[in-house]
Symmetry: C2
Subunit: 420 residues, 2 copies
């Protein structure tokens, strides 16, 4: 399709990233569906409803040490010079109820983690005793009352363990199992359709003719979505033709819960995304253009309750905007207000930026003598190698015009960069 | 098995965590095997050998904007008052070679990302022109030479993209695809056997009798290993009997590349791990006991080139030691010197610790007005809920006796805690 290049569409009305997110937040997004799975398999999954403990943890008072359960009042002041002698009245087996009780003048052997016998109020460590002829001689009873883990001291039955929206860590699924919660309700992965546009794109395994480049945005976006907990559905490479884009967008809106489109979101003649999305349904385009670099021609839309996000074709812009805009919008499908945590680091060298834009600069994080150092990786938004070698991204605010060397910055690690 | 509790084994000879790791580093570990997979599927995988670009990225000089390719010398000083007029000599199609060349007095239309025509040394933006009757009138030519992405400016063919040991991020697999590397050699997941010991343990889905607790360490350890890129193989819950432990350890050493054992690593009569591991082969036990809390009774051993690590039975101790000791040892199977990066945060309240030990305190990370705040979650090492709600762990050094409120601390996010 020969296209003499002449004019541009309506110029972008650029808003800040914060305002863009606020504008999208005024629209409800489709909530992820839920499913019940085994807690042991739930690592990385997001809890879909308030989850409560089934049992007390522990369900009984336990000894913290190998030793003898005693009545604390019997052993007060025991020392090497004035040892206390108690009659051994039995022993507790690991994993069994304590059948013996402890009465005044008695002691019951108890292993680490064993159930405390009835009546006992302290435990004497094996290091502080001698045992002979059914008698335990106690040389030190200091802190003996502190060696008991009370019943329900970790978790109380019916206590809320996790609110909805919590992503389950290995420790968290350990806690679920400890509390007898063998199954848990989690969100199913919402399906995000990924459309990649561009006449110039060919897959990595095919040879390149002049004018062509290997497709990389779709591959990276799909991997980043999966790492965040979404099911990414690829729609292949779509030539820059309006009808084809329209057909594929309709198909994706039908099959998926949200749609990401790489490329074609700017204002050139080959940029069909804005018009095709605008005509796809209500409320339509919410934001077109942000005052941020990289990322300017980004497009945020809602078709019903389905977010549709047009990411720039430049690979760095696409992945940085995926993180800054698409991620918080999509995470709302899990009911999550997505506020990434930052590494605090010292900027290694000064940065000069255009004050009219908010800038995101990929950085490497290095270990300095007094903490982390953020080393900016400068280059254009077409240089994917910069992002591939970055550990995090720092934000240089609009209006600042840059940052001085040595400035403390927040470095946001992000899902599109992942280091060992 | 009735076991009157009397004496202890050889006391632990405790070393620092750093010395424990250094002692393990003197033994070679089995290297992970490798496999070749599609780059698009390699997110999170670790590169097994130096990986080089197949092609230049981009393979040809590209225009950064929609506009007209010109000879820069033709348009110097063009302005609204003194526009420059050039004859339109053709147009470049996206994804195609530039068939037209640019000669003096000529311009060729070129789309964003299109191949630069031969002879052209600059690009005029569509915003700065007027087109009529085969003539383009240019009102501004400032920076026209900076609107070209030179061939190979992102990546040069045969350049090293990633060294061995690099974990591939979404951006990194994007870069591989962009550079025409459709397949990549990565490490296969080493198989780590997970043995959980304890007469008191029952699975989460079974009811508890008095004296019993639900198994959680194995579940959490297996999930953490999988998140780190290992294939965890569960060996179930093993009663505290020496022969059974010996049989299962032998089986695990036979089937797996490394073995983790939860519980039984201390010095009590029911702690069979030290003797069973010592007799399993050479060189045997390397470290038994560390000067760290939680974690003291940990055991590090090598059987041939297979690491065998005995983690404490207390759930917090087990997961903290998994991170501090097992993780760096196991990551060496990928040839990786595992140095986790830390969030810099301000300690919210003072911590007093036993100066004879290095302490690891789980913290929540909160957003304060001047950066991250680390809120210590205090409790005993039997309280799994503490770790399940933690974002990171801070280290209080041996000898310090604690930290003041407001102190800047390094908070290490870790694989056993994972937040949205």
């Amino acid at each position: 399709m020969e296209a003499p290049i002449t004019t541009v569409h309506t110029p972008l009305r650029r808003v800040s990233i914060a305002d863009a997110l606020a504008a999208m937040a005024r629209h409800a997004v489709r909530a992820a569906r839920t499913e019940r799975i085994k807690s042991a398999d739930a690592e990385g999954r997001i809890v879909a409803c308030e989850t409560r403990a089934a049992v007390d943890v522990p369900a009984f008072a336990r000894s913290m040490v190998d030793g003898y359960a005693v009545i604390a009042a019997d052993v007060t002041g025991a020392s090497a010079n004035a040892p206390v002698r108690l009659a051994i009245a039995g022993s507790v087996l690991m994993g069994k109820p304590a059948h013996a009780s402890v009465h005044r003048g008695q002691a019951v052997a108890v292993p680490t983690g064993g159930a405390m016998p009835e009546g006992a109020t302290g435990v004497i460590k094996v290091e502080d005793i001698d045992v002979r002829d059914g008698i335990v001689t106690i040389f030190d009873a200091t802190d003996c009352e502190d060696r008991i883990t009370p019943a329900a001291s970790d978790v109380r039955a019916h206590e809320v363990l996790f609110a909805a929206g919590r992503r389950l860590s290995p420790a968290a699924i350990g806690l679920l199992c400890a509390a007898g919660v063998a199954q848990v309700d989690v969100y199913r992965a919402p399906v995000v359709g990924v459309l990649v546009t561009g006449d110039e794109l060919v897959p990595a395994h095919e040879p390149l003719a002049v004018g062509q480049i290997h497709e990389s945005n779709g591959v990276a976006i799909i991997a980043a979505l999966r790492a965040l907990g979404f099911a990414a559905r690829p729609y292949g490479i779509i030539p820059d033709e309006r009808d084809l884009l329209e057909t594929e967008l309709r198909r994706a809106l039908n099959d998926c819960d949200a749609v990401l489109i790489s490329g074609g979101s700017s204002v050139g003649q080959r940029d069909h995304v804005p018009t095709v999305v605008a005509e796809a349904g209500e409320p339509g385009v919410v934001v077109h253009g942000v005052r941020a670099k990289p990322g300017r021609p980004v497009l945020l839309a809602m078709i019903g309750d389905q977010p549709v996000i047009g990411l720039p074709g430049n690979p760095v812009s696409a992945l940085v905007m995926l993180e800054a805009l698409a991620r918080p919008v999509l995470m709302r499908m899990f009911g999550i207000d997505d506020k990434p945590k930052a590494f605090r680091a010292q900027l290694e060298k000064p940065l000069t930026t255009d004050a009219s834009l908010e800038h995101r600069i990929p950085v490497q994080l290095l270990f300095g003598t007094s903490g982390l150092i953020a080393r900016p990786l400068l280059g254009s938004s077409s240089q994917l190698h910069i992002l591939a070698y970055a550990d995090a991204v720092i934000v240089v605010p609009e209006g600042s015009g840059g940052l001085a060397a040595g400035a403390m910055v927040d470095a946001f690690p992000f899902s599109a960069t992942r280091t060992p």
